[in-house]
Amino acid sequence: MSATTSPARPSARASSAGSSLLRLFGGGSATVFALLIVVLLAITVLNPSFAEPPSLMAFLRSAAPLVILAVGQYFVIVSGEFDLSVGSLVGAQVVIAAKLIDGEESRTYGVIALMFAFGLLVGLVNGLITTILRVPSFITTLGTLLILAGAVRLWTGGAPTGALSDSFRQWGRQGIDLPVLRQLPYALIVMVVLGIGAVLLMRAPFGRILMASGDNAEAAGFSGVRVWRTRTVAFVLSSTLATVAAILIGGFAGVTAQVGQGLEFTAITAVVLGGVVLGGGRGWVVAAMAGALTYQAIERLFTQLALPSTARPALQGLIIIAAVAYAARSGVRRPARPPLDVPTGDDPSGPAASPADPDDGRDGRAPGPGTSP
């Protein structure tokens, strides 16, 4: 199940497919796919109608934003950083859209363009403060979380004003009418397109230097990678995708004061559920997306079981910890210790030790996030 059993792969492309396959069946990622299947089956058993295309479409439509956020968060995490600001950003973007569009169809796309510009700006700020000023991204994005949340309310005097236009809302609400599915949601299409895009990106040179930066920033730098730039791009990707998520969420349900609250933790949890290692350099984007779907599916299951809604978080917490713990066990070896990962000292024979690599993990110089003061 470990990489050592990998079949021969002559060409780079094929082999990355190979290693993806490995990641699927080995280590962290296996758990999430198994879990996802189990949960979906459970739901279907309890409520066969869930398997009917329209229900599935509805499920995927409402899952799409989180999946997209997870992809964005994945880029940042794999580069060795955190993005806590996405929740606030989603909220801010929806409110901005409502206030600026104010129900005027004609303004829709102008405003959407503006939202992307704003998203880009936020990503740049997060990235540059983290890489150039060396503020740990946990703190940087905690700061932007506060700033965004406050600034946008300040701007709208506390509660969102204005209204979204139909052409804005269609993206999260409408879809292409089809016979069987009844409707193929635009949200789903966007999610799939972005998902494929992410997979391709991770196979492209950028994907590899992103991984390298998260794995060992110094080595990457000595190979000509502009680590600061790569990580900044990751932050920009994250906040751009958060903007897309905002468009879908706002479109799906309209504006309320609470949009986006807590999404940052949900997104990070989803990514980790996908077996992606906090601290960077390890993890598969498809698994991260599966993590997001799993997270949503679990919530579905709970409503399905009609569990008292107050009790749900408890179960959710248990499942998350159990899943991650299980992944950590089946994981091939202890990952190079990430910034917020823990010393799991006492077992020399443990995964820390790997063949021909006596000192691996022995010297505490495992690549951490290059940007922690």
């Binding site: 409520n47 109608s49 869930f50 329209p54 229900s55 509805a58 409402s62 934003p65 709208t156 005097g157 506390g158 509660a159 969102p160 004003t161 204005g162 209204a163 609400r173 969420i249 799906f252 349900a253 309209g254 504006v255 309320t256 004061a257 609470q258 949009v259 609250q261 579905r300 409503t303 399905q304 009609a306 809604s309 107050t310």
Partner: protein, 384 residues
């Protein structure tokens, strides 16, 4: 020099029956006496001019306040729980507008506000700071949580300055007056009764709630449960939504996938429109709908003319504390418990209210009662 900011007699919260809240010690949010009182109060004709509901009162017992009488512009201090939802934002604007009127007329000088951003501990500190400063001729408090703010409010009472509490209550009757609409039980009942009347026996109802543990909200649900209990309606479930439209719509969609939903009951209108949309997008018939007097919902209601009701938690109550303060500082008597009228909006008066609130933002509350204030409508439109 060991001093204390602790109220004499200290904690009164345990099991003690008092204005506003019921005993949190039991963690129970249903007190039949209060429930029945509130339901009855709905049919009692309030005193005063119906054109100024914020000055009306139901069965007031006046208390003498001559001891607080003073001359000249007063410094009024307001400790606000938060402006973290549209209902409170709307109300707070109304309050500020009301203050300006009295500042014009020279009755109020300085108006000091501290906002606790929903942090109970912070609000306690805010109140203590007001008390210590000794500058406050009157202290208005909108408590964040009934039980937790009680000690601080008691301490404020002991400071000698008149204390006015509104919206959510406290477990003590030390404030000069406690201002509130009829209350959560009535609010919850209005919606529940409407559903019972307008649905057939055996029909299904989904209850959507914001969050657990806030008494005003819990009372609403407690009343609804009471009424659903002796009806033939089937309650499919009660879900917490955090008032987040996306969650609301997603949840309703899920319930619709599993079968019909004939009625929706909500403990607060935030996001009612999202619930309605779920029916539209699923191609299902509109449910019998319980919302709130929030404009986005009222407008949706008018568009679709579905069967609906908008229970009201009278937002105009935010004007009353200011009037109360001025009266008290003039030594005029005020009701010890100032119960304001609280009438739901029905299809009969729907159009009238939408007209009156023409051009106001969608997250604005119809019964905000500020039409006659100088800042109207800009202050509520631009929110500043």
């Amino acid at each position: 020099a060991c001093s204390t900011d602790q109220p004499e007699g200290g904690g009164t919260s345990a099991g003690e029956e008092a204005v506003g809240g019921e005993s949190p010690a039991e963690g129970e949010f249903f007190v039949r006496a209060d429930y029945e009182r509130q339901l009855a109060q709905r049919d009692i004709e309030p005193t005063g001019d119906a054109a100024e509901p914020w000055l009306q009162a139901i069965e007031p017992e006046m208390v003498d306040t001559s001891q607080y009488a003073m001359e000249g512009p007063a410094t009024v201090c307001f400790s606000n729980a938060s402006v973290s939802n549209p209902w409170r934002v709307t109300g707070f604007i109304t309050m500020q507008q009301q203050v300006e009127v009295f500042q014009e007329s020279g009755e109020i000088g300085e108006f000091r506000v501290s906002d606790a951003a929903d942090d109970d501990n912070k609000q306690i500190s805010d109140i203590q700071a007001f008390v210590r400063s000794g500058d406050c001729d009157a202290i208005i408090i909108s408590p964040s949580t009934t039980a937790t703010l009680t000690p601080a409010v008691e301490a404020a009472c002991e400071s000698g300055a008149p204390v006015i509490v509104f919206d959510r209550g406290v477990n003590t009757d030390c404030p000069v007056t406690f201002i509130h609409p009829i209350g959560g039980y009535a609010y919850g009942a209005d919606g529940a009764e409407f559903l019972v009347e307008n649905l057939e026996p055996g029909d299904t109802v989904l209850a959507l709630r914001i969050l657990p543990g806030v008494d005003v909200l819990e009372n609403r649900w407690a009343a609804a449960q009471e009424i659903f209990a002796d009806s033939e309606l089937e309650v499919l479930g009660d879900e917490f939504t955090g008032g987040d439209a996306a969650q609301i719509k997603d949840l309703v969609t899920q319930y619709l996938q599993r079968g019909d939903v004939d009625g929706i009951w909500m403990d607060a209108g935030d996001g009612a429109v999202a619930a309605v949309e779920a029916f539209e997008d699923a191609g299902a018939d509109y449910p019998v709908m319980v919302g709130e007097d929030e404009l986005s919902f009222l407008r949706k209601w008018q568009e679709t003319d579905m069967t609906a009701i908008a229970p009201v938690y009278s937002n105009f109550q935010w004007r009353t504390p200011i009037h109360a303060a001025v009266r008290i500082l003039n030594g005029e008597e005020v009701p010890a418990e100032w119960v304001l009228p609280q009438e739901p909006i029905t299809e009969d008066d729907l159009d009238e209210f939408l007209e009156a609130n023409e051009g106001l933002p969608s997250l604005h509350y119809a019964k905000f009662g500020g039409e006659d204030l100088p800042g109207f409508p800009d202050a509520w439109v631009d929110r500043d």
